[in-house]
Amino acid sequence: MRALLTLTRALVRTTVRNRQGFFWTLFFPVVIMLVFGLIGNGGGFSVNLAVAGPAGGATDQVVAAFSQVPIFKVVRMDAGAAMQAVRSGKEDALLVVPAGTRPLALTLYYNDANYVAAQQAVAAVESSVSALDLALSGHAPALTVAATPVSHSQRATFLDFLVPGIVALMIMQNALFSVGAGLTRWKEQGILRRFLATPLRPVQFLGAVILNNLVVSLASLAIVVLIAVDLLHAHVAVPVAPLLAVAVVGIAVFLAIAFLVAGLSRSQEATIPIINLITFPMMFLCGIFFPVSTLPPALATIVGYLPLTYLANAIRALMSGQAAGFTPAVTGDLLGLLAWLAAGTVISARTWRWE
């Protein structure tokens, strides 16, 4: 036990003293948040939505419902003028309410010249509509319930969307770059061999490596979340216990992958490209910087099974305030992560080489 703790302390020291590592662990995520936080502050992530339809009941209901959702700036307009506004880019999208009774077949017009804004608008409207639909199918008063994925007291900014993604991204990067690359470096330098020649058991060494990453990752996550909330004023919830549980499982998953990579590769030169190959696509696909729903459906389905998607989804559900604890959605993501953990552990245990 003393050996394990002393080694863990030594590893934490080397990790903290590594300036390059420090840059990627703390500086980089903070800079990303700063950059996007500043962009996000000018208007934030919002959708200018025009609503057109016959005067009275249904149209009023739709306008009222969407006005409840903070990210929509809803304007009621005449259909012709609204279409003109969407074409010119003044409005992001136009929702047309048909005359008649339920089921209401709403039509959404958007300007695909601005791809990103259009996709955001479509995704936001679609997710809100399905939530509203649920509410509408019940009693009429249920309309006032703003049951949407982005419901928040304040206007949701892009930073609010980004912070949980950054948290998930940091977990992946920390595990793969510091442990995956670190282990291969130690292997190359003969450090692993040197420790194997002492009474320290391999399990203790790996235990210390895992503890080190847990300590360093959780500490850097805490710092980044504090900076996001206190300095950048991100509106995120921090339910500590469930977040910690999800983070620890996430760290375990990416550590298993790190051990797999380090076990298979012989030199550090070979490891870094492999790690980049693993992390780069996930960084851009798994809902860190933009929602997975904006991807082509086929790709989105595949991406849905990636570990970083599970992790980002679970963390975002918790930090957006959408889930206060282990809701079915969060539990589902957690199960996905556990499946990756099981597979990763089994494979890396089989392929691991000390030399």
Binding site: L7, R13, R17, G190, R194, T198, P199
Partner: protein
């Protein structure tokens, strides 16, 4: 294999009555080992490194006095990455000795060191040996082996060619002497001299290995007179371990 880092295909390793293949932990606990000097965390300090290794064993020497003894006192709070080659080697040997091992394995501990640093390390190894402990040293420096070792095994391509004390090995293989000449004296390879063993070209000298110094020397002087040559740089000496090593392992370059 003795250190438990690799499993032998066949055979057994006994330490006293202990089978080290079945009980590698005995070797790990009782032996010390020095591997490459790079095998330490570069961002830890000297003291931190020694304290880390001390914590891996049930009992250990005092880190402070070890640092003192290995001449690392000025550097004790410096990170390993800032140490010179000699300081790193001393640190590597110090970590091998931290738990008062019964035997210590040193793998080319003075490779790449300047003469002072080598002497300094030799003194440390001698002192350890003086405590009645065993040192197993791998080296390519024959003067080092001659100076430090009681028993030498000459190993070539994984085979033990001969075992003995330095003096024994020299007497057994090269009982005569060596006559050295400056390299620019044109001694033909096929020169026939009385009692001649071999003629070897080294960097800037020619070594004439002989079983009888007097006979060969007389022959050599007569030959030089005949040719009108000066025997520049002529020196005679008894054979060294290096001569024995070269004789046993051959002269061809190896990988």
């Amino acid at each position: 294999m003795i250190e438990g880092l690799r499993r032998p295909d066949a055979g057994s390793i006994l330490y006293g009555d202990t089978d080290l293949i079945r009980h590698p932990e005995t070797a790990r606990r009782r032996f010390g080992i020095q591997l490459q000097s790079s095998s330490f965390f570069h961002l830890l300090t000297v003291t931190e490194t020694l304290e880390l290794f001390a914590a891996l064993y049930p009992s250990s020497r005092d880190v402070g006095s070890l640092v003192e003894r290995f001449g690392l006192a000025d550097k004790k709070d410096d990170r390993v990455q800032g140490l010179s080659g000699g300081q790193r080697q001393r640190l590597a040997v110090a970590t091998a000795l931290i738990h008062n091992p019964e035997a210590v394995f040193l793998d080319e501990p003075t490779a790449g060191l300047d003469p002072q640093a080598r002497r300094n390390l030799w003194d440390l190894v001698s002192a350890f040996r003086g405590e009645g402990r065993t040192v197993v040293l791998t080296t390519h420096y024959m003067d080092e082996a001659e100076y430090l070792c009681d028993l030498i095994a000459v190993i070539d391509h994984g085979r033990v060619l001969d075992v003995g004390s330095p003096q024994e090995l020299i007497r057994r293989h090269l009982p005569g002497a060596v006559i050295e000449l400056a390299g620019d004296v044109p001694v033909p390879d096929g020169l026939s001299l009385p009692a001649l063993d071999r003629i070897e070209r080294r960097e800037d000298t020619t070594a004439i290995v002989t079983s009888s110094l007097e006979d060969t020397l007389v022959g050599l002087v007569a030959w030089a007179r005949d040719q009108g040559l000066h025997l520049t740089g002529l020196r005679t000496r008894s054979a060294t371990l290096e001569d024995v090593f070269l004789k046993l392992t051959g002269r061809s370059l190896r990988d």
